[in-house]
């Protein structure tokens, strides 16, 4: 038995002498980290990388079947989803893997920010991380185009509209993005090359630097309130921490990363099995305009911003916003590179995170519900609630018909039924006087088109009579404040 062990040892030593495995181990997986970094808060970086590896593996599998041609892509997607053995599973893992990757990357960034890990001497780690985030979002957007369905087609249309706002070279940028003057086959090929070669290659390169920095400058120690970072003393302090409580990353500090990795994989597989892959939805046929283009989950907040911000600042915000955010993120480790690390003593950092999450969350929710979009079928599909018909005069009933047939309901709900773009009409009679209603219908305004050209005077009379009658029972009609003596007009 001992002989056998000796022999195995001999073989190992021989291999190690040739390949220098133990030296490699000492300088990589076995490098010393502060014991405090073996924390549940430190698992998100490795989990993001794990997601990326899953994406590479499943992506290669999908590319074995997928054909990046405008004419064939949709068919191969359907084949992948419904005919290819386990194709649905791979598509599901790839789709959910991307969601997990973006989500966990965000958590990683948040943790790094709150723990002050971007401060001296880890500026380059942070900056490469920011670039990695941009590349990851690029993968998410180009991946959405790979699922070449109606959403992909109109998503590209949105890209064109944003690029076209760039001054001076907008037209050229659009052409370069599309590979021609129009969304067509060259566009898909171009995005395919970006999605499978350029962006993943960029991620590999930057992850190398990112991890190299972890090895050369060390992982951030778990910050203690009151322990300030000073450029002059930090390196010595970090060396002292390593000396006092340094442990080899593998096997002493990796356990939580391993557990987290398993949880992530379980999560992705569970989502893939329970919810399946996304789409493909309708074919990428531009002539099928009965469509409701929506971006994937991670871009819904931008979709919401585009609807909600004031019109005049739109181009500035769409083009300047990313630049400003980029500059702030790049500059962060330089204007805030020293001092307190612990989030317990950094209220501004905590508020920033809370506000960012609240804004992103709220905007994503709004993007998901899109109350600003007209409900294109409300006018022919949504009923008028009974209580809004009962007891009405013939003129008022006529008005309710006009409201229905003129597509008013696409934007105006009645008692919650119908589009949400304009105000609900259920109590409009208590809010606006007859004169105000006439003016609003004929002239529009406040984001409502003018109907003066499309309604006859009789129709306007009927619509306004009906709207005056739309009030909670017992509530008087709105009255004109400039004529206090005048009774409410019925």
């Amino acid at each position: 038995m001992n002989k056998l062990i000796d022999a195995a040892r001999g073989v190992f030593l021989w291999v190690d002498d040739r390949l220098h495995i133990s030296k490699l181990y000492e300088s990589t997986a076995g490098h010393h980290v502060p014991q405090s970094s073996g924390s549940w808060f430190y698992v998100f970086g490795s989990a993001t990388l794990l997601c990326f590896m899953i994406q590479v593996a499943t992506g290669i599998m999908l590319a074995m079947v997928y054909v990046p041609s405008a004419a064939e892509a949709y068919t191969t997607l359907e084949y992948l989803t419904f005919h290819q053995y386990l194709g649905w599973f791979l598509r599901g893992v790839h789709y959910w893997g991307s969601n997990f990757m973006v989500g966990i990357m965000l958590l990683h960034m948040t943790q790094v920010f709150l723990f002050g890990a971007y401060k001296y001497p880890r500026e380059i780690t942070w900056i490469t991380g920011v670039v990695l985030m941009v590349l990851t979002l690029g993968l998410a957007f180009t991946g959405q185009v790979m699922r070449f369905d109606e959403d992909a087609y109109w998503g590209l249309g949105i890209g064109v509209a944003i690029m076209g706002r760039v001054p001076f070279i907008g037209e050229q940028l659009v052409n370069m993005m599309l590979g021609g003057p129009i969304i067509a086959s060259d566009t898909l090929s171009r995005f395919f090359a970006l999605h499978v070669f350029v962006l993943p290659g960029g991620i590999l390169a930057l992850v190398s630097i990112h991890l190299r920095m972890v090895l050369t400058k060390g992982i951030n120690e778990y910050p203690q309130p009151g322990m300030l970072v000073r450029r002059e003393t930090y390196d010595k302090e970090y060396a002292a921490i390593l000396k006092k409580e340094g442990v080899p990353f593998f096997p002493k500090a990796i356990s939580k990363d391993l557990v987290a990795a398993a949880i992530v994989i379980f999560g992705i597989v569970a989502c893939a099995c329970l919810f399946g892959p996304k789409g493909p939805f309708g074919p990428p046929d531009p002539v099928q305009i009965d469509t409701l283009p929506r971006p994937d989950f991670y871009f819904l907040w931008i979709f919401a911003i585009a609807a909600l911000m004031p019109d005049w600042m739109e181009s500035v915000a769409l083009l300047g916003g990313p630049v400003i955010i980029g500059i702030i993120l790049f500059a962060l480790p330089f204007f805030n590179g020293t001092g307190e690390k612990s989030w317990r003593r950094r209220p501004v950092a905590v508020m920033t995170v809370i506000l960012t999450y609240l804004s992103l969350g709220l905007l994503t929710y709004l993007g998901h519900t899109s109350p600003w979009s007209p409900d294109m079928n409300a006018w022919k599909a949504d009923p008028t609630p009974k209580s809004f018909i009962e007891g009405r005069s013939p003129l008022e009933l006529q008005g309710s018909l006009v409201i229905q047939s003129m597509q008013c309901r696409n934007c105006h709900a009645i008692d919650g039924i119908g589009g949400q773009r304009g105000p609900d009409l259920a109590d409009v009679g208590a809010r606006l006087t007859k004169d105000q209603l006439v003016r609003q219908v004929i002239q529009g305004g406040g984001n409502m088109p003018a109907y003066g050209n499309n309604l006859s005077p009789d129709q306007v009379d009927a619509v306004v009579a009906y709207m005056v009658s739309l009030r909670t029972p017992g509530v008087a009609a709105a009255r004109d404040s400039s004529q206090p003596g005048r009774p409410p007009m019925e």
């Binding site: 249309g157 129009i182 499309n454």
Partner: protein, 179 residues
């Protein structure tokens, strides 16, 4: 064949002398700079060619004018004038044709001027509505409501021998407003 002196030398004459090794190093850098340019310049040119290629509009037939009743707005589509065989359905480009009267036409691009989503025509209210952010346009394409920065993009229209043509082939956007 002068050999370099073996012991360190403090004199001024010899260090300037180029050895064969130095020459080869310089030649190696130089040759590779040229070789890199030979590959790199065409490579960059290939990628950015679409950046510099000017857009050209083509005259496209939409159909005989009788297809479009007077006073109405109708859906129409045309083939991308510069197609690839593997374009599939993406070669079909939709548009809205409004025949005002006689040979007086307005042809609108499908793309909302806000973010490019396809606008839909509602005959009753005589409005175009966009499903993305609620932009609305009047019958004549002018801005009615919502975030769009301008009215609908219109194609240049020609009527010849009773046939309706447009000048098209470029996706309209704020940088390229003459479709």
């Amino acid at each position: 064949m002068n050999e370099e002196p073996t012991k360190p030398c403090a004199c001024e004459a010899s260090p300037k002398k180029t050895s064969r090794r130095d020459f080869l190093l310089a030649a190696g850098f130089g040759l590779n700079a040229i070789a890199g340019a030979l590959i790199g310049i065409p490579l960059v040119g290939y990628v950015v060619s679409s950046f510099f290629k000017p857009n050209k509009l083509s005259q496209i037939l939409l159909g005989p004018v009788e297809d479009f009743p007077e006073g109405k707005t109708r859906f129409a589509s045309y083939k991308n004038p510069m197609p690839r065989e593997w374009d599939g359905q993406t070669a079909d480009i939709p548009c809205w044709v409004r025949r005002i009267k006689g040979n007086e036409f307005q042809v609108f691009a499908i793309n909302c001027t806000h973010l490019g989503c396809p606008v839909r025509w509602f005959e009753e209210s005589k409005l175009f509505m966009c499903p993305c952010h609620g932009g609305a346009f009047y019958e004549d394409g002018s801005h009615a409501a919502g975030p769009p920065p301008r009215g609908l993009y219109t194609y240049e229209v020609k009527v010849e021998n009773g046939k309706l043509f447009i000048m098209g082939g470029v996706i309209p956007n704020l940088s390229n407003q003459n479709v």
